[in-house]
């Protein structure tokens, strides 16, 4: 049964990509624009670090690693799980979620995987390159980086699920979902060292953005075992919690009557 599900999701992801590549010229243009816009941001930070060297203990290399991790995590989401978050929020708000409830595969992942944004490849390439040149990824740390990356992806997905689930509990909250996503990106974009201790505690507990930006860098820099264990546990709790929250909310789903085409 399980391998059947994998088979379905493999086909689903392949199809959502195919759907987004239907417009080939647009795909390349988007890819290039995405890389360029990432680079613009990086130049800004480069200039910044050139003037000040470190920001509260973080060097440009640390920052590069953090950005690389964020961008590549984000790209995994845009490439494979883009349906989660803003799209799903819209579907729930407009009562367009019926199709996923009517077919056998897992509702949450079915809806998440059915949209893919090809521009994500641009982010993916940039992210991986940034991590590679940051100097923090060596032969010895490769294993840990891989685990950190998986945790980051899981955390990001969990947050997208939670932000989606809000729409079951509040009406017309799709806009709120989008805004919270934006705040989330915004906080992720700064070196973790600029936040005060209190803010950091909040960012790795209540508003767990820090799990994909602050904590991974600190773990890699200081090789703290306790932080690593915390990250693993927090990721597990967050992931399971978000799925629970989603399915609890699903019971409150109200269907709608709009005319819908997929695509």
């Amino acid at each position: 049964m399980a391998d059947r599900q994998y088979h379905f999701f493999f086909r689903l992801i392949k199809m959502s990509m195919k759907q987004s590549y239907a417009l080939k010229a647009a795909f390349w243009l988007r890819l290039i624009f995405m890389i360029v816009s990432d680079l613009i941001m990086l130049i800004g930070w480069y200039v910044m670090f050139q003037s000040f060297h470190t920001i509260n203990g973080w060097s440009f290399e640390d920052f590069m690693f953090m950005s690389g991790l964020n961008i590549s995590t984000f790209s995994i989401w845009t490439l494979f799980f883009r349906g989660g978050g803003t799209y799903m929020a819209q579907w729930i708000q407009n009562g367009e979620f019926d199709h996923f409830l009517l077919s056998p595969p897992n509702v949450l992942f079915h809806a998440s995987c059915c949209v893919s944004e090809p521009a994500g490849w641009g982010d993916f390439i940039t992210g991986i390159c940034l991590m590679a040149v940051s100097g923090l990824v060596t032969f010895n740390t490769f294993g840990i980086v891989l685990i950190l990356f998986i945790c980051a992806v899981l955390c990001f997905l969990s947050i997208s699920f939670i932000l989606t689930a809000i729409n079951f509990y509040f009406k017309n909250a799709a806009d709120l979902t989008e805004r919270l996503f934006y705040v989330f990106f915004c906080i992720c974009g700064y070196p973790g060292s600029i936040y005060t201790d209190w803010a950091k505690v909040i960012l790795i507990t209540v508003f767990p953005v820090g799990l994909i930006s602050i904590l991974p860098v600190e773990i890699l820099k200081n090789m703290q075992f306790s932080s690593f264990v915390y990250l693993l546990c927090a990721t597990a709790v967050l992931f399971l919690g978000s799925i629970f929250l989603f399915y609890r909310g699903l019971r409150r789903y109200e269907s709608g009557n709009r005319t819908i085409l997929r695509g």
Partner: protein, 304 residues
Amino acid sequence: MPKEVILVDQLFKSFYSSKGWFRKSLVKTDAVKNLSFSVCAGECLAFIGPNGAGKSTTVKLLTSVLYPTSGTALIDGLNPWKNRCALAHRIGVVFGQRSQLWYHLPVCDSFSLLAAAYDIPDHVAQKKWKELSEMLNIGRLWRMPVKQLSLGQRMRCEIAASLLHSPSILFLDEPTIGLDVEAKRILRDFLKKEASENGTTILLTSHDTEDIEKVCQRVLLINNGTKMLDTSVQRLKTDFLSKKYVRLIKTNGDSVRLSFDTHKQSVQSFLKQTDLNDITDITIENPPLEEIIRALYIGGEAYA
């Protein structure tokens, strides 16, 4: 006595909406109120009622899209809200206004995905598609992107998609909406055949009385979320046909159309007061089903 495949008992579904900015008060709307009915295997049931009567909500409740406020339902022996996945394998659902096909991609891609979703091996799915495409006359659409299909073609593909996993129960929510006469005919013939040959149970909601007349044997009228009437299509016609249309053709070729209500006037008195001189031909017609249903909608409570 055939097996009952749909069993609905005291089903309730309420929606809540909040009003006001500061002192919010919850407004409760009952979309489905105390609904109970059952459908036997192989039966075709039409679900009718005016807009906002709760038809679609009921279909959504029975197909596990919505979670009920209270009440129970068993679809093919399964609780839809606890066995969503198992139920999905046994039912097929078509919502006239929603598409399960991928807009930019060819029809075959959507079908291969559906085959994977329902754990159907590709060769079995291919065989089933061939079978369905012959009946629905959509064989040549296999490689065409969905966006290039006409509404009628798309709807036939939707139905084929819903039947790919050979469900034993088929739910259709306004399947003929917006279709032309020919497309409607193909669809109705197909549904009828599907029910009689494969024993598929069909539950259909529609505003088109011909859908009901051509496909279904039984009608369930609901209004304001409650059941108003549950009868066979045949009985609906005989029981509620008090109005008669009489067409008289005169010798000079003119025709006169008269109508009378058998509840208010006896046939005898009607004939007495009608001038039957110079009449060469007479036809007596029952009103169309549409008119009966309209009368039921307007005076719904009277028949409850």
